[in-house]
């Protein structure tokens, strides 16, 4: 753009055309007027010889669970099909302030409820590489848009793997930062205690730039913390001091893992070892405990968070005979089967007689998981794991078997419960690798990703 070989308007128009024509079902709504208006302003700045920022004029996508004032925010749901954001999410506002141009609200699982981006009123998102397969979820539309280069980067939400798993399924990079590094203000709440905002991109450098812009303390989200900018030098692997990398033995010995993923993962460990880094096998919680703990807490939190969606103040409303009837008809008709399953599950574990045996026990186990991570990071610098036990399923399979879908999240949910920074690199196994560091060591994750990107 700076060399005036093409204009920002032509760049943005080209991307909008690609998005409009695409058959992967990645688009919930296009932000044509906004995007072209902003692009024209960038062209004027360039024409006038003004300085432009690193992200100025760069087109990006937004998972349709974020607020962007004046645009539709549907959460891919029937209930919010016509809902317009009245304000803008902090993370998105920071990108706008840096000059990035939003192109599209992206298809995803409704309210983040799913691992395949099939739980949506806009049609199942098709995988970027093989359209018979799911895109993964819940940020499926975002990952596919980046993989197909319809957007330069996209902003997803990750509660239990929703950035990392679709990134792996579509062979792009996806980063869930430390919990609290990026404000959740303006992200529709699924499970507030693990919800994270994060970027999906085609390079580690793009992740770093976008992460730096979105990070920081926000008075509107009290769980945020102030963090220093991650410099280009800080993620240069030549300055790395990584001595030991750990992996969870039981992830690799599980029955659920396919031979292909297992062999590729073990081969990757060998390559790391050959470069002089020690590998340490770690004991960890069984996959069914991790998945059950995560879903117990996530369902309890989503039951509470989505109780506000009753058709009274916003969203669709179906009138009943009285107020309670209106609530229940609206929610029964307008929530998807998967969303209802999670709300009901959440209310089940929060109700008297169940909360001690299930909800409080799951909270206790979560504490143990966090303590185990703290112990592990006294012995290893980083933890490496596959993203998923198997390849992406065919479209239609996940909806038939919700339990199998929940269990497929086995390798991602633990890091969410620990609030740890975890990145998917699209190398090392068919669905990529996850790199995890201790809390607030996001730079170490990016640095090791650069190392793996080089040796794999």
């Amino acid at each position: 753009m700076l060399s005036k070989e093409f204009t920002c308007v032509s760049l943005v128009q080209g991307k909008l055309d690609l998005l409009q024509e695409n058959t992967h079902n990645t688009v919930n709504s296009l932000l044509i007027e906004t995007a072209l208006g902003l692009a024209a302003k960038v062209d004027i700045k360039i024409e006038n010889g003004e300085d432009i920022g690193l992200l100025e004029g760069i087109p990006f996508g937004i998972k349709d669970v974020f607020m962007l004032q004046g645009t539709l925010a549907t959460a891919s749901s029937d209930l919010l099909k016509s809902y317009k954001s009245s304000y803008t999410a902090t993370a998105i506002q920071k990108l706008l302030d840096a000059g990035a141009i939003p192109l599209v609200k992206e298809n995803c699982d409704s309210f983040g409820h799913g691992s395949s981006s099939e739980n949506t009123i806009f049609g199942a998102v098709k995988n970027a590489i093989n359209t018979e397969l799911v895109s993964g979820g819940s940020s499926g539309g975002s990952a596919v848009n980046v993989a197909k280069e319809f957007t330069i980067f996209s902003i997803g939400g990750d509660t239990g793997g929703s950035i990392r798993q679709p990134a792996g399924f579509n062979e792009v990079f996806g980063f869930k930062p430390t919990y609290g590094k990026i404000s959740r203000y303006g992200l529709m709440a699924y499970a507030s205690s693990t919800d994270c905002v994060g970027p999906i991109a085609n390079s580690i450098e793009d992740l770093r730039i976008v992460l730096n812009i979105m990070s920081g303390k926000d008075v509107r989200d009290q769980t945020t913390y102030g963090s220093e900018e991650i410099s280009e030098e800080a993620i240069d692997y030549k300055t790395s001091s990584v001595k030991t990398v750990g992996y969870f033995k039981n992830f690799i010995e599980a029955d659920a893992i396919t031979d292909e993923i297992k062999e590729a993962f073990l081969a990757t460990l060998e390559k790391i070892k050959a470069s002089g880094i020690a590998i340490k096998a770690l004991d960890f919680f069984d996959a069914d405990i991790l998945v059950s703990t995560y879903y117990t807490l996530a369902m309890a939190e989503t039951a509470s968070n989505l109780s506000r969606l009753d058709g009274t103040n916003y969203g669709a409303r179906i009138e009943g005979e009285n107020l309670k009837d209106t609530y229940s008809i609206t929610r029964s008709e307008k929530f998807s089967e998967e969303t209802k399953r999670r709300i009901v599950g959440g209310n089940q574990v929060l109700s008297q007689g169940f909360s001690d045996a299930i909800y409080l026990k799951a909270q206790h186990i979560r504490g143990q998981i966090s303590a185990q991570f703290s112990k592990d990071f006294t012995e290893v610098d980083l933890i490496l794991s596959p993203v998923t036990p198997g390849a992406p399923p065919k479209i239609g399979e996940s909806l038939k078997n919700p339990l199998a879908m929940y269990l497929s999240d086995a390798y991602t949910v633990g890091f969410s419960l620990g609030g740890l920074p975890t990145l998917t690199i699209p190398k090392g196994t068919a669905t990529g690798l996850q790199i995890t560091a201790d809390k607030k060591k996001d730079a170490a994750v990016l640095q090791f990703a650069n190392f793996l990107n080089d040796i794999l």
């Binding site: 039951a303 009901v344 026990k361």
Partner: protein
Amino acid sequence: MSKIMTVDVLSSIKGARPSESVSTLFDVIKNANQNNNSLNAVNNNSVSLDDLRADIVFESAALEKEIIRANFPREKNGFLVVAKVIED
């Protein structure tokens, strides 16, 4: 108050029933062994009392107020209409 509320009432979803798949997950938690060492129970996401912000009132901009009104499901003669309230 000893009134028993079923999940369909608690969830405000007509005819809702517990799911078999979800119950399978809950059974895993019920049967899990847990370490009783309370020191292990670390709540990582709690906000320290010293870090709590003061209550702040943010005045909404005119555009924000306009969109909030536009999002309201029903309007009649300039009034926002709620469903009939019942008491029990």
